[in-house]
């Protein structure tokens, strides 16, 4: 597709395109791919948007979502007091009227329980990490732990929806969609927002496509789910009996037919349609090339673990995330399911940790060795924390923890965050935040900030109201900015 073709056959005016763009700023980026001089300012209307709002620290995000809420108390928030007070009742002065889920509201006692797993300090930063995460322990100096996250939701669905869309209810666009809208795609052959799913061996809660919804934004901003099957993107594969060359031929005929129709009707949508077929065709080549992980060198495979050659595993998704991100995908969203340890913490937590620990650390090191960590923001964490008291029966060898919205731990690494720090702090019961709380809205504001976007300015008017990812709140957490 060269410029001549576009000049001669793409009768779409710049103004029409910009008109279309009001649906979403992100498609401006798409527009500029289709019309190279879209932003050259030759037209008389000045281009109205200039995004990002300021110099970004990160260009891309990989969000390793730990779905189900991994316990902070068995991973990164070390609370020895809980072991000392094992079996003692959670003091009312600590609980302070915190509401309970329906699962523990009938429980008579709330006995404290400490981590079954040992903790140790690592790295120059001296970060506490449990024995379940030996590989993460090796890279703690790259990580910025936020130990004071808190949310408003107490159940999975609303909490996940809140983390992803900034609202517990309602059909709002998810983070990735907002970034696609705000910044567009860096790669003309790939969607700006990609979603990868995996499932661990622990108690799982499922994910929902509304988590990667475009909400009221143009559907071009919807997360594109990559599957573990042979066909990585839905409808990507040519049908059996039709190869690439055949498809090319079909598209050439199709373009001619559409062009004839354009001559009769003059509808710019027809030209857009022709262009979208071209992008679809390019995706069909680009995606299989990119998702062919077997082509990765041995040392990379070794880093991520042999699992990474099995499609649909977390390790495989981490490696794929690196490749997509490297290729310019703005937002790669992973979900790893199975972190809902209401019971059997001792049995399930190690399995879950085993699934993610090695590949997560490998991803950070891999990005670093490629010089990409500085411009890529990696986020690891779930939708809320877990209670410091036991849910259900507590035996000598096992226990469980209920949902805890008031305090939990996530970490970030790379693009624009301070490495090797722990921000915020929970009390010695691991129950309340005693320093620097970070609300979900603050988290979103900060992530947007790192991407060069002002969370108050990135908005979209829908049904009479300007919506933001941070709704009406949120402040940038300056303490974690590098």
């Amino acid at each position: 597709m060269d410029n001549e073709f576009i000049k001669n056959r793409m009768h779409v005016t710049r103004r029409h395109f910009l008109g279309k763009m009001s649906l979403g700023l992100g498609s401006v980026a798409l527009g500029s791919l289709l019309i190279p001089d879209l932003f050259s300012g030759k037209d008389d209307t000045p281009f109205p948007v200039g995004l990002p709002h300021f110099a970004p620290k990160a260009k891309r995000i990989i969000y390793l979502f730990q779905n189900g809420a991994p316990s902070q108390l068995e991973s990164f928030d070390y609370k020895p007091l809980l072991s000392k007070m094992r079996g003692e009742e959670l003091p009312a002065s600590i609980r302070m009227g915190q509401r309970l889920t329906g699962m523990t509201s009938g429980q008579k006692n709330f006995p404290l329980v400490g981590s079954h797993f040992k903790f140790q300090q690592y790295g120059k930063s001296g970060a506490w990490v449990s024995e379940l995460f030996p590989n993460t322990a090796k890279i703690v100096d790259e990580l910025c732990f936020i130990k004071s996250m808190h949310t408003e939701a107490i159940n999975h669905d609303p909490a996940l929806t809140f983390m992803q869309t900034g609202a517990q209810q309602g059909n709002r666009p998810s983070m990735g969609a907002w970034l696609s809208y705000g910044l567009g795609s860096e790669n003309k052959n790939l969607p700006a927002f990609c979603v990868l799913l995996s499932r661990g061996r622990g108690n799982g809660q499922g994910v929902y496509s509304k988590l990667w919804t475009n909400g009221f934004l143009d559907s071009i901003h919807q997360g594109v789910q990559f599957s573990s099957s042979e066909e990585r993107v839905l409808y990507l594969k040519d049908p059996n009996g039709r190869d690439r060359e055949d498809s090319r031929k079909m598209l050439d005929h199709l373009a001619q037919l559409n062009e004839l129709n354009y001559q009769e009707f003059g509808d710019p949508e027809i030209q857009t349609r022709i262009q979208q077929y071209e992008m679809a065709y390019r995706m069909q080549t680009a995606v299989p090339e990119l998702t062919d992980l077997a082509q990765e060198p041995d040392h990379i495979i070794k880093m991520y673990g042999a699992d990474c050659l099995t499609p649909g595993t977390y390790a495989s998704n981490c490696l794929l995330a690196r490749k997509l991100s490297e290729a310019g995908v703005r937002f790669v969203q992973l979900y790893h399911q199975g972190w809902d340890q209401h019971g059997n913490m001792v049995g399930e937590m190690p399995l879950q940790a085993q699934d993610v620990d090695r590949a997560t650390a490998a991803l950070i090191m891999d990005l670093k060795q490629r010089g990409l960590l500085d411009e890529t923001l990696v986020i690891w964490g779930g939708e809320f924390g877990r209670t410091n008291y036991c849910q259900g029966d507590m035996s000598n060898n096992n226990y469980g923890r209920d949902h805890h919205p008031r305090c939990y731990t996530i970490w970030m690494a790379g693009g624009g965050v301070k490495p090797g720090i722990a921000y915020g702090e929970s009390d010695e019961f691991g129950y309340n935040i005693i320093r620097d709380p970070v609300h979900v809205n603050d988290f979103h504001a900060t992530v947007l900030h790192l991407m060069g976007l002002n969370h108050e300015q990135l908005n979209f008017k829908h049904l009479g109201r300007r919506y933001r990812l941070t709704d009406v709140a949120g402040k940038v957490v300056k303490g974690i900015l590098a």
């Binding site: 839905l234 409808y235 031929k249 065709y281 109201r465």
Partner: protein, 766 residues
């Protein structure tokens, strides 16, 4: 006449809101109109802090009420916010035109700005006396005189006189009437959601009588497929789905309600009856089971099955959903904004919100429903239909087996008190409220309407209600023209757009009410108008002046809905199974979509695809699992049925291209169509011509035909060299495959037909 001039100025604004030249045109107009020009600016830029929301109001100043806006300044009794007739002396004008950013309004921090023209408009409005008007949508529709036009030969009905008057005013000439082929495709798709069959095409194209078109419209309106098409739209409004939503997302059975909706449209229930039954059928004196079934409308919202939720939190969520749906579906107001605080733009206080909420707060229900592992079909309240009843009385419920079926419906329990919920939080009750509505719309008189949902329905259909009829005729207009007369069909409030043809909207609304809320009549009125029948060719000059076709000087040209894309493929290829209603279908879907997202609990954890006839039912019967809706339909902007939706986006994306190229349904339709044509004794050219006519609904142009025949010959040659590829290609889909000797021709023809299905015109109402 003033309306027209001003609306033209408004049009210019919407064409290029920041273009100064256009803005000045508005300024040359003699009189600035509050509703058309000023309120939209004040609402959008000022009301957030100086509007109806008392909680957020700054400096105790509100600009939405004249008496407050004319008040003196808090700290200076000699200075006034607005001095009618004197902008220069008005603090409001001084502040919006200040150079000092510390003085400037809106403040820099707000990210809101007024442009020069907007400032000048406000100045002019103050100079002219700063007259306020009630928001247009809250003034009941007024009788309108049908305007006079110059070209009397053009209008086919009164509706056309309104559109033509505007066109003439703007110096635009309507397009020619669309050619018969295109008009037939357009009106068939619009009324039945299906393309015209070859027989219908034949009949209509050869009927040269003056009444040919009207006869066609009547025939289409009498087809059962009309009800399906209308129901598809209504299912979005009603957020219909086959699963409960939320985490585990178990199975629910609401399809008998959907079957009733199809039935209701086909029986042409008047709109007031149609909605009253859905809102309050259970409260009608001697309510029939049909009337109770209709109330399933308000039980279509999501329901959680997540163990451990706090029951009351979710019960409140459901009442909230019903309240918001009521506001959006019937009144086109953003009620949800008043859930946590007074509405920032519209006169809906938080108290109003919870007063309306009270109507929907009386259901004997719980927050947590059933047990996911038992695949509970419905929790109370519900209604049961036995097989006998269905056979004898409720024949529109398409149930084949003999088991009874239960559906969730509405019922009022003993009165539950309703409180304002502070910040919208379920556990923060404030003052108690009684039944009511935002009185700015139309005050609620409990004595005459009654204090329950039936009363609310009476209030809704009170002829003095300014919104109900307007909102519905506007939605119907949107269905046929792709754009409502009020573009923001879900928001008739201050932040919504002004109607492009306010008088036409009023005329239609009054006409609709005065003729018994007759929906088929309204549809016929629209599709028989000259406005609708215009060709959709986009003339360059018109595109320059009116690219959005606000003035309607051309016919609609709109991409088909997700459901219609599917239906087109099935109908044209002959695969369509025209059975009406029944349980939803699990059609072809890429593998693993449900499985990779599920919690693993319940009968919907795995996708078990249907076979046989169920694969070939219309799109509206596709099974909607809320947390994982059919991906191909989402790509074409179908609703995920999370909440009430009154308008779908209409995007144009690469994923749509991928789907049309590789989706098994489209491939199968191409294969089966080719198979059928091969069985006919005709030439390749005749076969291609027939396929083209069935899919695009017109004769191929000579160059199109030449291109496709050449393509067919090329493909044939290719497949002759590799017949194995041909054999693979024609395997598409599960539909039976009679053994054929000529796989090469079959595959080549399939390729050609598949290409035609991918044509932009094929999936476009042209």
């Amino acid at each position: 006449m003033r309306f027209l001039c001003l609306s033209l100025a408004l049009l210019s604004f919407s064409l290029l809101s920041s273009c100064k030249r256009e803005g000045r045109i508005a300024l040359q107009k003699d009189s600035v109109d509050f509703n058309l020009h000023i309120r939209p600016i004040l609402s959008d830029r000022c009301f957030k802090c100086h509007g109806p929301d008392g909680g957020q109001r700054k400096a105790n100043l509100r600009l939405d009420l004249r008496e407050n806006a004319l008040a003196h300044l808090k700290d200076n009794p000699n200075e006034f916010v607005i001095v009618p007739g004197n902008a220069a002396k008005s603090e409001l004008f001084r502040r919006i035109s200040a150079h000092d950013t510390a003085q400037l309004m809106p403040p820099v921090k707000s990210n809101l700005k007024l442009n020069e023209d907007e400032i000048a408009l406000i100045g002019k409005w103050i100079d002219q006396g700063a007259h306020y008007k009630k928001h247009w949508a809250f003034i009941p529709p007024q009788p309108v005189v049908v305007p006079k036009v110059n070209t009397n030969a053009w209008p086919r009905n009164d509706l056309d006189r309104f559109t033509l008057a505007r066109m003439e005013e703007a110096g635009l000439v309507p397009n020619e009437e669309a050619d018969k082929e295109r008009l037939l495709k357009r009106v068939s798709l619009d009324i039945t959601g299906l393309p015209p069959s070859l027989e219908v095409q034949e009949k209509f194209l050869h009927d040269s009588s003056p009444s040919a078109y009207e006869k066609l419209v009547d025939a289409l309106l009498s087809q059962a497929q009309y009800g399906e098409k209308m129901a598809t739209y209504w299912m979005d409004v009603a957020r219909y789905a086959d699963s409960h939503g939320y985490q585990d997302d178990g199975l629910r059975t609401m399809w008998p309600w959907r079957d009733w909706v199809i039935h209701a449209f086909n029986e042409n229930y008047p709109y007031d009856q149609f909605v009253t039954w859905q809102l309050a059928g259970d409260l009608l004196p001697g309510a029939t089971k049909e009337q109770v079934l209709a109330t399933g409308f308000n039980r279509n919202h999501k329901i959680t099955q997540e163990g451990g939720v706090i029951q009351e939190e979710y019960r409140i969520e459901y009442v909230t959903d019903r309240t918001n749906t009521f506001g959006k579906a019937f009144l086109a107001l953003t009620f949800e904004c008043a859930h946590c605080h007074d509405h920032k733009y519209d006169p809906i206080s938080q108290k109003d919100y919870y007063s309306t909420f009270a109507f929907f707060n009386q259901v004997p229900e719980k927050g947590l429903v059933g047990d996911i592992t038992l695949a509970s079909l419905a929790d109370p309240p519900k209604i049961k239909f036995t097989s006998q009843e269905i056979n004898d009385l409720y024949t529109y419920i398409n149930k084949k087996d003999t088991a009874a079926v239960e559906v969730m419906v509405m019922r009022d329990s003993a009165r539950r008190p309703t409180y304002i919920l502070k910040r919208g939080a379920y556990d923060a009750p404030g003052d108690r409220v009684s039944f009511g509505v935002p009185s700015a719309i139309l005050p609620y008189d409990s004595m005459s309407y009654g204090a329950n949902r039936l009363g609310l329905a009476k209030w809704l259909f009170d002829k003095k209600n300014p919104l109900t009829a307007r909102v519905f005729v506007n939605r119907m207009w949107q269905e046929f023209f792709g754009r409502g007369l009020v573009k923001t069909s879900g928001d008739f409030g201050m932040q919504g757009e002004m109607p492009s043809h306010p008088e036409l909207l009023d005329w239609l609304a009054l006409d609709f009410m005065n003729n018994g809320w007759n929906i088929k009549r309204l549809v016929k009125q629209i599709v028989t108008s000259a406005t609708y029948r215009q060709s959709s060719v986009m003339d360059k000059d018109k595109m320059a002046v009116d690219p959005e076709n606000i003035l309607l000087s051309r016919g609609p040209r709109v991409r088909l809905s997700a459901e219609a894309v599917r239906d087109l493929a099935l109908a044209s290829s002959g695969l369509l199974v025209k059975e009406i209603g029944g349980p939803s279908m699990k059609v072809y879907q890429p593998k693993g979509i449900w499985e990779s997202s599920t919690s693993g609990r319940g009968v919907l954890a795995r996708y078990i695809q249907d076979h046989g006839d169920n694969l070939y039912r219309r799109g509206l019967y596709s099974f909607i699992k809320r947390t994982v809706p059919p991906p191909g339909m989402l790509m074409f902007d179908a609703s995920n049925r999370d909440q009430c939706e009154v308008k779908r986006l209409r995007t144009n994306t690469p994923l749509q291209a991928l789907m049309l190229m590789n989706d098994p349904t489209i491939l199968e339709a191409s294969r089966v169509f080719a198979q059928r044509l091969l069985a006919e004794k005709s030439t390749a050219e005749e076969k291609i011509t027939k396929a083209f006519r069935s899919i695009v609904c017109r004769d191929a142009k000579p160059e199109e035909l030449a291109l496709l025949i050449q393509y067919f010959e090329d493909e044939k040659m290719k497949f002759e060299k590799s017949p194995a590829k041909a054999r693979q290609l024609i395997k598409a889909g599960e539909y039976p495959q009679p053994g054929t000797n000529d796989v090469v021709t079959h595959a080549a023809l399939m390729q050609v037909i598949h290409t035609v299905y991918n044509m932009e015109e094929a999936i476009t109402k042209t």
